[in-house]
């Protein structure tokens, strides 16, 4: 009798759940319920990150984004890449949805014209022995450091190592590397960028489980994508890495550059943990692969 009542109640509840399922926000579900069904994309039950031996949120591991933002941070169709006559589908670029909050980048009118000029000349490489070498050509094509946040959405993994008072980001693409200074009391570490750099000068701290990184001191030469989206030396990037499961982090970057944009704007996307048992970064030292692209014009003969 009692059992039947319980079963009846459960059936009723189940029916109600079915009726209400399409309109109920997934976040309101209990973890137990969540385990039994496929989650709505982007929604996770509440999560606390594990801690390192010294009690900080543990973000160690090898991570990768699976967006096509490196091609264009905004919505874009698939397209033939350079030299489709020889590269065929190898060289074609996938379409994808953008990572920019609100869809549009708030360019100043003259800056938008520069972005378009960048895109038009993204494969024009002219390496001189002065800074004019940076006038045209996507830095990615030249195997230059991708900058921030682009390094995080290149189609390559990167590794986070949390040390005692620094966090290291080691990127597979072009051997990119960032050191995040985590100890604000270390008098040896300048607060302001001591010199401009491609990957920026970065201080970090935790807000709950979220790693917040503040980066400035950038050279004006990196782009955000192959579509020519760019910034000036006034770039200020604030990143937030929030673990939402053992295997996922939500990434968000606020991009502020009053010389180029009318207001700060945001990009966001998930980062996925690479869970292969033997996962490690395998060198992609592309400098070797671009020697002829960069310096061919100065060669006596083509390299064999």
């Amino acid at each position: 009798m009692r059992l039947r009542t319980i079963v009846h109640a459960l059936v009723t509840l189940f029916g109600l759940a079915l009726v209400f399922a399409p309109v109920r926000p997934v976040a309101a579900q209990t973890p137990a319920a969540a385990q039994n069904k496929v989650l709505t994309p982007g929604q996770f039950p509440p999560y606390k990150a594990p801690k390192t031996a010294d009690g900080k949120p543990d973000l160690n591991g090898i991570w990768q984004a699976f967006v096509t933002a490196d091609i264009d941070v905004q919505d874009h169709d698939a397209q033939a890449g350079p030299h489709p006559d020889t590269m065929g589908a190898y060289g074609a670029w996938p379409g994808g949805q953008g990572i920019v909050e609100g869809g549009e980048i708030p360019y100043k009118p003259e800056a938008l014209a520069q972005k378009k000029a960048n895109a038009d000349k993204r494969t024009v490489v002219n390496i001189t022995s002065d800074p004019h070498r940076h006038d045209t050509g996507d830095p990615e094509l030249k195997c230059y450091s991708p900058g921030v946040p682009r390094a995080n959405y290149m189609p390559f993994p990167f590794q986070i190592i949390e040390g005692t008072d620094t966090i290291l980001f080691s990127y597979e693409f072009a051997r990119g590397v960032r050191t995040i200074y985590m100890n604000p009391n270390d008098s040896n570490i300048p607060k302001e960028a001591p010199a401009d750099s491609w990957m920026g000068w970065s201080h970090g701290h935790f807000e709950g489980d979220t790693l917040v990184i503040d980066s400035t001191g950038f050279v004006p030469y990196t782009w955000f994508d192959r579509a020519g989206d760019y910034h000036s030396d006034a770039l200020h990037v604030t990143e937030r890495y929030t673990p939402v499961s053992p295997y996922h982090m939500m990434y968000e970057a606020t991009i502020d550059d009053p010389k180029v944009f009318t207001r700060p704007w945001k990009v966001s996307f998930p980062l996925y943990r690479r869970i292969e048992k033997n996962i490690q970064l395998v060198d992609f030292n592309c400098t070797e692969f671009v020697l002829d692209l960069l310096y061919g014009q100065y060669s006596k003969r083509p390299t064999k």
Binding site: T52, A53, D54, G55, D58, N60, I127, T128, S129, D130, P139, K142, C143, Y144, S145, Q159, I161, E162, G163, T164, D165, T166, L168, S170, R175, V177, T179, Y181, N188, I189, P194, A195, D196, S197, W198, M199, V219, Y221, N278, Q280, L281, V282, D283, N285, T287, E288, L291, D292, L294, Y295, Y298, S299, K300, R301, P302, T303
Partner: protein
């Protein structure tokens, strides 16, 4: 037109380095380029002998010996033992002090001795930082401690026949004066370092003319070894995993680490043929490094090179690592590489000049 002829390879690398370190860095360093400074620094160095009295091994929260921080492999002791010290493993205190002083003096003179009209690199500003901060003189007469004569064991006949790996190529034909005929038909002729393909970064860790810093980080199941020169990192897993497959070749080899007592052991294999240490055999070479913190300001770093196809027996060297102040700065090498353009454009200009003068070109 032939300016590049006067540039020694060393200076060319230096040109890149100087571009990368901005004016802020210059301002942050003192540059007392005088005999006084050498004397003062020598004194400081002599006083900076590693002290182990009352010292206990610092440990990370998970109990490993704490190696983290910034270190330098700077030393004035040569890899091989000079003939004049034959049969002697150590210098006397006075000899060590004199060697340190002479080394500092040489380093100072490096700037002003350059044949370049406008030296672009001030060694007293950039190259001497660790020395100015002070480190204990190395009393050893050679970095090599085994074989006991402090000399490299003989190369095998096989190794002597082996062509030079691309990484070891020198684009300037040596003429004994640091300059000579430039071979720069293609960027590949110029070698890996000048083209910024790889600035080495070990293993093993051996000091060069400048940028001898090492940043050690310890994370969960990983040790990170980051060279100041080129800022190339080695990520060493400590979780006992086997080496990557023999089909994977890494620019710094494939390193695996573990602790034996308080000593960190790193074993590295899977080297790239272009970047193998001293033209060793990339398939046979195994480098074993041992890091042991022996004082608040010193790590004893010891490496063993084992490649029976190249050397008749394994050999071992000790390079003391001394604490220095961080941080390191970005080394955007390829991004700022003016050398390759200048060397190659110079070589082409020279060829044109030779043609105009009707003189037969050296390479045709």
């Amino acid at each position: 037109m032939a300016n590049h002829r006067a540039l020694r390879p060393k200076v060319l690398h230096i040109a890149v380095a100087s571009i990368l370190f901005g004016p802020a860095f210059v301002a942050a360093q003192s540059s007392p380029a005088s005999q006084d400074a050498v004397a003062k620094t020598t004194k400081k160095n002599s006083n900076a002998a590693a002290s182990t009295k009352g010292w206990t091994m610092p440990r990370t929260p998970d109990g490993q010996p704490d190696l983290h921080g910034y270190w330098t492999s700077e030393t004035f002791t040569t890899l091989e033992r000079p003939a004049k010290y034959a049969g002697r493993e150590f210098l006397s205190d006075a000899e060590a002090e004199a060697a340190q002083k002479a080394g500092l003096q040489r380093a100072y003179e490096r700037t002003y001795d350059d044949p370049v009209e406008e030296p672009v690199y001030d060694s007293t500003t950039f190259g001497l930082t660790p020395a100015l901060e002070g480190f204990a003189p190395n009393k050893r007469t050679s970095l090599i401690v085994d074989p006991p004569d402090g000399r490299l064991p003989p190369r095998t006949p096989e190794a002597m026949k082996r062509p030079k790996a691309i990484g070891d190529r020198d684009y300037i034909e040596p003429d004994g004066h640091g300059s000579g005929v430039v071979h720069a038909d293609t960027p590949r002729d110029i070698g890996m370092r000048t083209t910024c393909v790889s600035m080495s970064g070990g293993p093993p860790i051996l000091p060069g003319a400048y940028n001898n810093g090492l940043h050690i980080m310890q994370g969960e199941n990983y040790v990170v070894l980051q060279a100041e020169y080129g800022l190339e990192v080695r990520m060493i897993p400590l979780d006992g995993r086997p080496h990557a497959s023999a089909n994977i070749h890494q620019w710094h080899g494939d390193g695996r680490g573990h602790w034996e007592g308080d000593t960190l052991i790193v074993e590295t294999t899977n080297f790239r043929p272009e970047a193998t240490f001293r033209n060793a055999n990339p398939k046979a070479l195994k480098i074993t490094e041992r890091f042991k913190r022996v004082a608040a300001d010193q790590i004893e770093y010891r490496f063993t090179i084992d490649d029976p196809s190249t050397w008749t027996k394994p050999w071992t060297a000790i390079v003391p690592l001394h604490t220095i102040k961080g941080p390191f700065f970005e080394y955007a090498c390829s991004e700022s590489n003016m050398d390759v353009v200048n060397i190659m454009a110079g070589a082409r200009a020279e060829e044109r000049e030779a043609k105009t003068k009707g003189a037969p070109s050296s390479k045709e």
